[in-house]
Symmetry: C2
Subunit: 198 residues, 2 copies
Amino acid sequence: MVRTKKEKASTRIPRKDQIEIIATDLFKERGFAANSMRDLASAVGIEAASLYSHVQSKEELLHTICFKMAHDFFEAIEKSENKTATYPDKLQELILAHVSIILRNVAAAVVFQNEWRHLSEPYLSHFLELREQYETRLRILIQEGTEAGEFIPTDAKFITHTLLSSLNGIPQWYVPDGELTPENIADLFLNGFKTTKN
Amino acid sequence: MVRTKKEKASTRIPRKDQIEIIATDLFKERGFAANSMRDLASAVGIEAASLYSHVQSKEELLHTICFKMAHDFFEAIEKSENKTATYPDKLQELILAHVSIILRNVAAAVVFQNEWRHLSEPYLSHFLELREQYETRLRILIQEGTEAGEFIPTDAKFITHTLLSSLNGIPQWYVPDGELTPENIADLFLNGFKTTKN
DNA sequence: CCTACCGATCGGTAGG
DNA sequence: CCTACCGATCGGTAGG
């Protein structure tokens, strides 16, 4: 079994991306701390030392995964804030975007959700800042919509936390090849948040 | 600083329990895999080797934490099933019990939620069995209540997963010394699940 | 509950 | 991308 040619499938995507994808999957499955660089290397099909030609450190991988997701979520909330629309429409757009980001890369979403605490400073602080910002701005969206009479009055803090927990819990039950689209899921979330007059 | 007497506070609870409590806190904070027995020993104030006089292995600690919680949750659902009451009342009781179990030991709830995957077989399979049982029985409660016309018709699977994600997400935002009681939180969850005629 | 220690494995580097 | 290797740390044991 001598490999005389490069295989097409493996040369399609750059090694660095391939490493990141496999790392995301491993971190999702057993966590950042429980996966060694040797585990990763073996899953990629190279030696552990060779990983360091493409990646500076184990934490760099985690950092990349977490901040890519954070960036996507942040973009989504800014987009919804800047939209000229009713609050229910803004919320609907944000929920759809949030769901879509998660479903686009479920493994990365799980790592983002569960493994950020293994980031070291100053990344950890930065990450938590972004996360709190997102929460705060979602809460404000709900508060303003409620004050405008476009949502049923609720405890905005509670609803925000509950909604986020539910959204971020999607990977726990979502079946990748099931019949549910991001739009379907977003719709399910929206029922109960619109005013009854709608 | 020679310790000539045993201090009262530290002799109050058995060492084994103390180790378990501190382990729960460490596992909650940085995960099972990222905490070493030396970390635990140092937090307890003894040498690593001394832990093994009280505990068989690192995993035994995780096992104890996870299955204690699983047992409590299981007891709660059985109690609610056996109660003669309307479905909304059954659900209310279950939600209150679930919230109470989480708030009674937030750290253990977080470990239960996040660290079970580090259990080895056959414990892992057993754990997942219990977990699925709980989910299934909650879903059935909601389905039966809906068929009985006591809940607004919804997608029972979706509602079950969403409710559980929200409940299990409580530790992410709950402030221990805040003004919210388990009853307050359970009430917040119940709005939206009762029929409008109520 | 401690000292002393085991083999295994960790993240990462040197040098090619 | 590999071989060879580093010091540090891991879970756990022996023997007291």
